[in-house]
């Protein structure tokens, strides 16, 4: 699809135009569950009782236990052994380190010297709070690529991916935009995978 004389910007925009959101993938490895919520609240130091105390959660606007909304991404993470198939590869990668370096727009950026990556923005919208027992699936893909920008880290491109989270009734429960910057490091040692 790319002509050899096209500019990098034009070639990147062709990927954006051709991008089709993936259909929802297979269910997450684990349903939304209380043990993972306990670990999360302990680590974050979050003492909100609606996440951990059945009796108090029943008195809240939720009427029962719910998961912390900002825990959204954790439910779809692949884990230490890469299990948790929730997203097709092209859609899963942005939640991790920025995309597949062997093909697609990220490969183009790599060839052109934009080899360092940093996560810059996360936007989560919650349609409803998740509850223990919910089983999530995810869909998504590439949404946009900026023109080349000058940044404090170096010149680079902002790549935005969108992920939609579905529940066991095929209802959308949340949406997330995740933006990363692929850049040419200005000096040596400039952070390959410096964040997240």
């Amino acid at each position: 699809m790319s002509e050899p004389d096209q500019s990098l910007d034009e070639r990147l925009q062709e990927y954006v135009k051709a991008a089709v959101p993936s259909p929802p993938g297979p269910p997450a490895r684990d349903p939304v569950n209380r043990p993972m919520i306990h670990h999360w609240c302990d680590a974050i130091g979050d003492t909100n009782p609606i996440y951990v105390d059945e009796e108090l959660a029943a008195q809240s606007v939720h009427g029962g236990l719910v998961a912390p909304p900002t825990m959204l991404q954790a439910w779809g993470m692949p884990g230490l052994r890469g299990r948790g198939p929730s997203l097709p590869e092209h859609a899963r990668a942005p939640a991790l380190v920025g995309g597949n370096r062997n093909r697609g727009p990220v490969a183009l950026l790599h060839e052109a010297g934009y080899t360092s990556v940093v996560a810059t923005d996360s936007e989560q919208e919650y349609k409803r709070y998740l509850r223990p027992g919910d089983v999530l699936r995810m869909s998504g893909g590439l949404e946009s690529i900026s023109s080349e920008k000058k940044t404090a880290l170096g010149d680079g491109y902002f790549v935005t991916n969108k992920t939609t989270y579905w529940d066991q009734n095929d209802e959308v429960v949340a949406e997330m935009r995740f933006r990363i910057l692929w850049f040419k490091p200005r000096r040596r040692g400039g952070g390959e995978e410096s964040q997240p």
Partner: protein
């Protein structure tokens, strides 16, 4: 019987109200336990030697945990009946161990839509290197009957 702690009422919140400061001690345990609790096993979040090799001065907090701390900061202030609708954050400098992240926040706007009391907050989490996170949180609070 236990009683749910109180929550802020939308009617009592004013635009310009400031949230009380929250200081998070960024111990290695905090950086690592939050990364693992979010099921993020990237080595730069728990292995200092590998973080060094990748050009980072130390391990650093992952973005999923930053989201978690922003959520906690808001509901610590607003109470258990606050319902978050969106959390939008922009990352700045990394959170390295042995630093502190100091949260501040302010009520940017409020509106009543179909009887629903909505707020928008501006949140900032800074460490000694600068702003780690700046963000906007939309939430709904109970309204007085």
């Amino acid at each position: 019987m236990k009683t749910l702690p109180p929550s802020k009422n939308w009617a009592d919140v004013k635009v310009g109200d400031e949230l009380p400061e929250l200081v998070i001690e960024l111990t290695p345990t905090v950086i690592i336990s939050t990364a693992i609790a979010s099921r993020d096993y990237q080595d730069v979040h728990h292995d200092r030697d590998l973080a060094h090799k990748k050009g980072s001065k130390d391990i650093f907090m992952n973005i999923l945990s930053t989201n978690g701390f922003v959520g906690r900061y808001v509901t610590d202030w607003a109470g258990p009946n606050a319902v978050l609708r969106s959390v939008k954050i922009r990352l700045g400098v990394p959170n390295y161990p042995y630093d502190q992240m100091r949260f501040s926040g302010k009520v940017e706007s409020k509106e009543l839509v179909d009887g629903e009391g909505r707020l928008e907050l501006e949140i900032r989490g800074a460490n000694q290197l600068g702003d780690h996170v700046k963000g906007t949180v939309q939430l709904v609070l109970p309204t007085r009957a």
